[in-house]
Structure formats: structure tokens, C-alpha cells
Symmetry: C2
């Protein structure tokens, strides 16, 4: 039975949403993608409410086993990071209200998991997402492709480390696991994750 992962790339203008089913053999299938959000200039409370309503409906429709969310760093993009953090808080509560575990992954982890390189650019990530999901082209817009990449990252982490990997909580804890028999992408991902955990980001 596949693990159903909802990936969320948080943002006020475009919050990317993706549903990916990941089989124990790592085969990943895209079920749905969407983008919710509001134009800049909309009052902040209405922007966050739109995100809340969108994620509520998405979780109720797709009933995922886990939500994989991009970890927001305060060092990056100072002009937009506060809104992105607020949106991520809204998404986390929506999942918590439904007893759905939330896992946070850094952009570097996602790039490493999907392409084998933590320094891959958006174009490379999009192409690999399309290949992994057996699509003719990457999901559009880029925020939806990023959400799909997050879901794949988390689903593969679950496959690599056993079912417990899927329940890694938003506290950032990670189940222990051996590193034997891993693909280059998995090894790069583990290195990226270890590096991310060494940064005090919250």
C-alpha cells in the first residue's frame, strides 16, 4: 500500500500543493497538484485565511498519511520570509488538527533527494520530478513542482528508512537507520540533511 504524501511549498502569493503516492519500491505517482494564494497587496489576514481554507480542503479531500513542508530559514529572502513562515504555521496547524504528522525538509535536502545534488537548480529539479513521476513535463507552476519534489523527498525517506521515516515529526527528529544499500541520491540527501541539522534555523 503506497504512502500518500502531501507536499507543500509555503508562500502567500503561490502556495504549491501536491499529492504523491509512493510505493515501498520507491515508485512515485502524482495524484494531484494545485496552487493556492492571493495577489500581493491583499490584506495579510485575508491572505492567510485563503491559505488556511485551501489547505483544509486539500487535506480533507486527499487524506494523506503525512504532510511534507519546506523548512523556512530566517536567513533567506528577508522581504518575504515572515509571510512564508506565517503560511507554514497555518499549514502545520491544519495537519495537526487532523492528527496528520508533519515533516520539514530543507530546499537542499529536496534537491539532493530528487537530483542527487544539493546544489541543483530549479530547472534540474523540475526535470527530475517529471522523470520520477513519469510525466511529459514538470508540474506547473514551479511552486507545484517544488511541492511534488517535497512529497517525493519525504516518501523516499520513508522507503529508505522504513515506515517510521514517514512519521518523522515537525520537531525535526529523524529515525535512526543504516546507510548501506543507498543510491547516490540517498547518500547526498543524508549528507544534506546532516548539514541542515547543524544549522540553528529555528
Amino acid at each position: 500500500m503506497p504512502l500518500r504524501v502531501v507536499g507543500v511549498d509555503p508562500g502567500l502569493t503561490r502556495c504549491g500543493l501536491a499529492v504523491v503516492d509512493v510505493e515501498p519500491n520507491r515508485r512515485a505517482t502524482l495524484i494531484d497538484v494545485s496552487v493556492v494564494g492571493t495577489p500581493p497587496g491583499t490584506p495579510l489576514d485575508q491572505r492567510l485565511l485563503a491559505i488556511a481554507d485551501g489547505i483544509d480542503a486539500w487535506l480533507d479531500e486527499h487524506k494523506p498519511d503525512v504532510v511534507a513542508l519546506e523548512r523556512v530559514f530566517s536567513q533567506l529572502n528577508v522581504s518575504t520570509v515572515m509571510g512564508t513562515a506565517q503560511a507554514s504555521g497555518v499549514v502545520i496547524v491544519a495537519a495537526a488538527r487532523r492528527n496528520i504528522p508533519v515533516a520539514l525538509h530543507t530546499p537542499t535536502e529536496v534537491k539532493a533527494a530528487v537530483t542527487g545534488s544539493g546544489g541543483a537548480n530549479k530547472d534540474a529539479v523540475g526535470k527530475m520530478v517529471a522523470k520520477i513521476l513519469r510525466l511529459d513535463a514538470p508540474p506547473s507552476p514551479a511552486d507545484a513542482a517544488d511541492a511534488a519534489a517535497l512529497a517525493i523527498t519525504h516518501g523516499w525517506r520513508g522507503a529508505a528508512f522504513g515506515a517510521a521515516g514517514a512519521a518523522a515529526s515537525a520537531s525535526g527528529s529523524r529515525p535512526a537507520g543504516g546507510s548501506s544499500g543507498l543510491t547516490p541520491a540517498q547518500r547526498a540527501w543524508i549528507a544534506a540533511e546532516a548539514k541542515a541539522r547543524s544549522v540553528k534555523a529555528r
Copy 2:
């Protein structure tokens, strides 16, 4: 009829909540204070859910006219600012779901409004909050006193600028108003607010 303001000092460990009724003549009365939150080390999703449940219950019980929330700056306290921003997002959505307007105020604005000086320390703010609310001592802990100061700041802004002031939205817009007949604290607050608006903080 007084304006009922809920002040919120957002945070994951201690989120201060206060309810203050402000009369048109600026007389402010403390109705209730509380602190919600969870110890550090609690999984993030459970921390945010506790904030969500706490603010939901608080708004349903006290039915305020407006929520006054501290504006979070990404430049400050990098280690905790992301959690604080996520908590503030949760609070804003709780208000928006109830059609309660949300107003954001910077710490400098609050200090200026309550003490007449944007550079006042916490002790001075607490003492003035106690004096304004006719209490024997500042609300405790400090997070609750800060929440009360936020509520007073917003209530007085409403009194200074007319009823429209109370509906200043989370977009940061401010109703126009004359500066005649203002107290020194109000003039200091206006100067602090103008300075805050010149900082690109989100």
C-alpha cells in the same frame, strides 16, 4: 460603548493574551489575561496546535472588536523568530475566520504609546501598564503585560483617530488623521509608527 481589544504577544513558549476595554475617553480596563504555550522540545506541530486552540477559545469567550498583534521582524532574534512568525500566522487566521480585524503594532510603537518613549525598557512598560489599567502591579508574566500594552496601544489609536482606527487592517494601512490635540505619548507613537513604516520588514 468601549472598544474591546484582544492583545496578543506571539510566541511558542509563552503567547501572552490580554483583553482590554477602552472607552472613547481613553479609560482602559483590563478584563482578563492569560498565557498559552508549550515547553521548548515539544514537537512544533503540537506547539502550534496549542496556540491555535488557545486563541480560538479566547476569541470565542471574549468576542473582541479587534485583535492587536505584535508585528514580528525577521531581523531580530533569529533563533526564535520563525516560531514566533508561525504562531502569529495562526493567530491571524483565528481572527480572520471570525471576521475580527487584525492590527499589527511594532514593539517601538507600543512602548511609545504606553510610556511616551519608544526606547522604554520592559520594566517601565509594565509599570505604565499597571498605572493605565489601575492595577496594583503589572500583569504577570511579562508576556501578559506586553499583550495588555498592545491592546492599550491599539485602543488608544482608535480613540486618537476615531472609530476607523480600530479597523486598521493587517495590511498595515492606517487611516489618515490630524495631529492636533495629541498627548506627548501620542506624538511619540506617531513618530515611532512613521519610522516603523519606513523599515521594509516583510
